[in-house]
Symmetry: D2
Subunit: 427 residues, 4 copies
């Protein structure tokens, strides 16, 4: 999940007031601290292990996000010397233009540098950034600081999902934090609401930061359709399972059925086999029937929609519906880290927060898309193949991070993110 500064945004964030605000010291310090806050209650051991090739050790996330500032902001100074000569090799994620890098599936082999050394590195780079941010930044640098903070927030969510995956593989089922008391959960009846049709505009076009893949803002054509008023719930997904959902090939995409057979899927990730509980960051917890189903792959989302006689929304349908709404919702700041049932109310509920919503749209370039020049052009563009767009953020997304035009993307078999679905249909 990756991004870069939209061309027009770059100019704007470097105005005097923007520098004092968006890229200001306080915001930098606050976002950076949020990463460290995630370590509360963890042991150094918890930050070392890589539970699968797609996930990274927490220690790696902490170092990589720091390297990002060192490489793209501090490193812009001709006389800058990296803190540790070999660490660029270790903590460069995938920027081929910057230089060679450690293979991703081997990140878990690195017991060194230790967590303490990584935290020292963070402190060193933060001190240098603190000094640098007190001097004027040109347009490009200011934009890179803004990008670096958005990047840090993306990794904050990944730290939570990677930790959850790691703990889920431990027979002791450790809890990252205590479960918070939940309000009584009530069902919200499913309803379909008509969306806009005809030519609409989507994509980022106004002020403020956006990743390059959200641009340019452009016209697109919407067919008549409707969207469900809320995400699919655990109870609804359980009905799908009880109806033989995972045993009926006619409900699945061919590749999805192959994945079901290959991985032996019989329910969403983290659910118990009796369908009554799920592993969470607060350990094993009973399933709330009315909360949005979570940790389903695109294949499962698609199969459920077919079973329900519906389909997934396109990303344009989703964005057209979400654009007028305030970006409010259940994000990571509530500390629950598990989706909660919708509260009663009219209209489209929970578009933002709780669960990322799979759309039927393959992740690709908008018409006229241009990646940034240089290494940061690798942030998003090179991933535009084989993945699907998700929208809206989740209960593990830092507040303030997403917007209507925000495009998240994962492979159709991925399940370890907080991913759910909302139904759509033709009208």
């Amino acid at each position: 999940m990756h991004a870069t500064v939209a061309p027009d945004a770059r100019e704007r964030v470097t105005s005097a007031s923007a520098a004092a605000d968006e890229a200001g010291l306080a915001r930098y310090a606050r976002v950076r601290q949020a990463s460290l806050d995630l370590l509360a209650g963890l042991a150094a051991e918890d930050t070392v292990v890589q539970s699968m090739p797609e996930a990274s050790p927490l220690k790696w996330h902490l170092a990589h996000t720091t390297w990002f500032f060192e490489q793209f902001v501090l490193g812009a100074a001709a006389d800058y010397r990296p803190r540790h000569a070999q660490w660029a090799f270790l903590f460069n994620s995938y920027y081929q233009a910057v230089g060679p890098m450690h293979e991703r599936p081997r990140r878990g082999l690195l017991s060194r540098p230790t967590l303490a050394e990584v935290l020292d590195y963070r402190a060193d780079v933060d001190a240098a950034m603190h000094e640098r941010l007190q001097r004027p930044l040109d347009d490009g640098l200011a934009a890179r600081v803004t990008l670096g903070l958005a990047h840090e927030q993306q990794h904050q969510e990944l730290m939570l999902t990677d930790l959850k995956h790691l703990f889920s593989l431990n027979p002791l089922e450790p809890a990252h934090r205590a479960a918070l008391p939940a309000p009584p959960s009530v069902p919200l009846p499913l309803d379909f609401l008509s969306g806009a049709e005809g030519v609409v505009e989507i994509g980022h076009g106004g002020a403020g930061f956006a990743f390059d893949c959200e641009t340019p803002r452009h016209r697109t054509l919407l067919a008549p359709h409707a969207l469900a008023n809320r995400p699919v719930s655990n109870a609804e997904f359980r009905a799908f399972v009880h109806d033989g959902g995972y045993r009926r090939p006619e409900l699945w995409l061919a590749d999805g059925w192959t994945a079901v057979q290959q991985h032996g899927w019989t329910h969403p990730l983290y659910w118990s086999d009796d369908l009554d509980s799920a592993f969470t960051l607060a350990g094993r917890q009973p399933l709330d029937p009315h909360a949005p189903v979570c940790h389903v792959s695109y294949y499962e989302a698609d199969a459920f929609a077919r079973w329900a006689g519906a389909r997934l929304p396109t990303e344009a349908e989703w964005e057209a519906a979400a654009a007028p709404l305030p970006v409010d919702g259940h994000f990571a700041d509530r500390g629950v880290l598990q989706p909660r049932a919708a509260t009663p109310g009219d209209g489209l509920r929970q578009l933002y927060g709780d669960v990322w919503e799979w759309t039927s749209s393959p992740y690709g370039a908008y018409p006229g898309f241009r990646p940034l020049a240089g290494a940061l052009g690798e942030y998003n563009g090179k991933f535009m193949c084989g993945q699907y767009v998700l929208r809206g953020g989740s209960c593990a997304t830092p507040p303030g991070h997403v917007r209507a035009s925000y495009r998240n993307f994962f492979y159709p078999a991925d399940r370890w993110q907080f991913t759910g679905l909302r139904l759509g249909r033709d009208r």
Copy 2:
């Protein structure tokens, strides 16, 4: 590559005159015979081997296409008894609704039934079909006959590509047929021609047969763009290779670069390492510099386009450009089975025939798409994930098989089809 009858087409092909023509005895016999003609010069041994999981033995193709008529046409009669009880298991490709099936990667393990037994089976089913086609067909059955013949033609192209792949793995480099003399090849200068913009209609909507995935005809929005007047040539692709195309990650999609590393790709499939010759169905032959490059994956097509400062066309751009043109071109009936250089001329050349052209469009459902009910609904719909659309047919496609709305689709790493590319760009 798979298909089904478009709803409106179904009604039409069953009119009295259509039955006498499209689904008539003569056409049935002609299409079926074309499959057998492909065996000329081959030994029984050549029809047994499966060279990779994606390919099938020729013997299997011959049996599967026969089973298709048995299952979906003859089998519609309540009292029909299959010729061989177990063969449905062996020769059902992927129709889960029909019953269980032999695993695809194991098709090459079947020395029995022998080729002779399969040919007997073809003769038996053809005799029964001959008898059946002389009696009235209702709408559904007539549509299935038409579909079965389109299906047979798809497998005729696959027989050629699978055989080519098999022979290419044999150190003896056998030739399927003699090379035909080629006219002198001359370069046609590359030119970009503006395409339509704004709202256009694409998809199949008129009379005649089409696969379900080509429907419904619908409106879509085209951004200003231009298309190259001809496909990319071998000489142009060789320049890409010489410029380090396969060694520069910045030119590639992330998954494409992974494929390059994993498979050790350094040039298109079947090219010699000195870039001077290619393995063909007539054995190893010198590369014609002006002929369209062939046997490139989507990843290679995309990387070439990026290197050339262009992009791939969308399938809508392609179809809008192709729709007004007659479906003329270099198809399999010429017996060359290798793309040839464009002949001089104005306008868009070689849209039909020579090479399938990769588009930037992931294969998905058109707005309002509905697969057919029943097992034949599996023909196309369940493959709408992870693949890309190709357009226009190739030098191995039976003449009369493609049309402007025809959507072929393969995975982005596939290279064994006759796949090339045409450049597009924003205007």
Copy 3:
């Protein structure tokens, strides 16, 4: 399974009378013809497929054994030109000193040369050999002819086991030949007979041909022990299965238990899950309870012995017991190709024929072992690691092929040979 001429044998077989007999034209023609006889009832298609990396297509066996004579006998003439320049690459099995070779797991990709071309090649080489054998042979060449014929016989057994494996994977379960009527089968009570103890001599030392790995004849020390009077029967092995044999890790070697888990073994290869029938070269047949159990791996043989409170014999114990006995038994010439129950009688029964008997002896060099110089030194010596010795020949072994000192060897997980076991124990 591989061999070479024992040093002393080499001298002997080249005496005038030996040449006229052992290496004579009649014997050459008879052994070579026996390979062709195995094709009776088969289609060309049956000779192409490779069912697993360990097995080879029948066509390959026919060509390889021919290449062996061409390479090591005809090729010894300075002016000899190979029939087909590239075939040495295709049909060299593993003689690195001769030159590079086609990878073993890719043998099944070769539809060409066809069976007919291979048979022509056999005829050509046989004609040249016929001519050559009428002229005097020096010691080395005569030994190589003898070796080539022993080699051909080894491949005759492999042709049967590879064909059986191939047919077993075909859901149609084809039969290679009709089942022969079997005499009534009666149980022979199990009895343990004391073996020799103290220093004995084993290994080949006398006249006649032997592979190099059977030499030198040497002294070894036998501890007090006893051997069962007959191999373990199907009924006995079924009792092991019924007693949870495949579910009790305490009965297995660690690597054996891993194999059980990995492959999902629940009974010997080719047995039906109801333990009542087995796939044979005559198709599926009821299990004869009193016939020797067959197609068990070393791991299964070892686990059975542990379950039975016994152990496998060492190869020295086996050879000391077998040496005084005539090499009579149920070999391939009876045409049954399935082990049969012992006929009543005293003493050690069925040491020769019916099933190869796993011993507890890892295949290694005898003290003072020297492989032949040159490429033929690769015949046996380089396989002396990781495999176990089997003794006695099977119902698929050509008559006259084995002797008391004969050492066959396979990996402990291999099951597709006609492998069974005889119990031994300390005394």
Copy 4:
């Protein structure tokens, strides 16, 4: 690498004086403390990672050896309640008779229990053991304490080899400890010394502890042979590499050559590609040409011996030569943890310590071998397949751990132990 108490040893160690000595409090405390001493200079992070399936995290070793005492000594008391109910699942290595266990390749996924929790567990169990050892032990229990301490020592060596492997995969090449100053190294000329021949006795038979696989003491027959006076040196092995050793298939066992190709071996593990330095527990260090070559597989040892016109010794030849010598040598207590050159002198040098010496003997049961009853019978017996015997101990072996009859064993492809070789030959 595994063991159990020899039957006769069991009786002896339980005599009053033996209990006070061998199984006494002081020895228990000393051996247990030696495991903790290995943590000096390490971070908690270093104890979590599993670098390959064959290796285990240090944290796991510390817990497993503790569980061994809890399970087999403390657990013998009817009223004993395990400290942590689920830990037996996590820290049981392979004792199927005790219960199910965590899969070995997943040991590195466990960030919890943390190192601190494991150290608490050690302290708890040690306190209970301290209490228990002050009360009388019956024969069986005393033997189990002795076995547990030998077991702990085996894991001490594994902790060092597993840590070395882990650190070697880190591009930072961390050092576990500082390099100790080495005395000047001088070459000792290679010489072959005749060994005993005829019937000799080997195996453990006297007083004191031995693993079950070292028994029973038995007669065996030695052929005339000679052994080299010292292990093969780095300089000698470098000559093999320079002579194309890793590129000449004729020097290798077939499985060895496959391993060379598959793993891309071009020199011993940990050597630099320029053959001048090696990674050690003190970081990268220059190669001492006269020190024994180390970290070679059986395949490499065997190929070197063939290249040198020699062979590996049998384990019986080794033991017969070593039995009269005192068990002196360079063990782990010197703190060097890297083999050192032999010091000048006559006779067989360095039989004990420096490097484990591969023998040509597959690891198997001695005649009359009986594993212990119960779960501890799994210690050694079930590994008697596919591995080769090594003799003599290494520079990472705790002093006092080995003896002449000691049999270590590893798979022929294993290289991460301190494994070298000594040449032998027929005489």
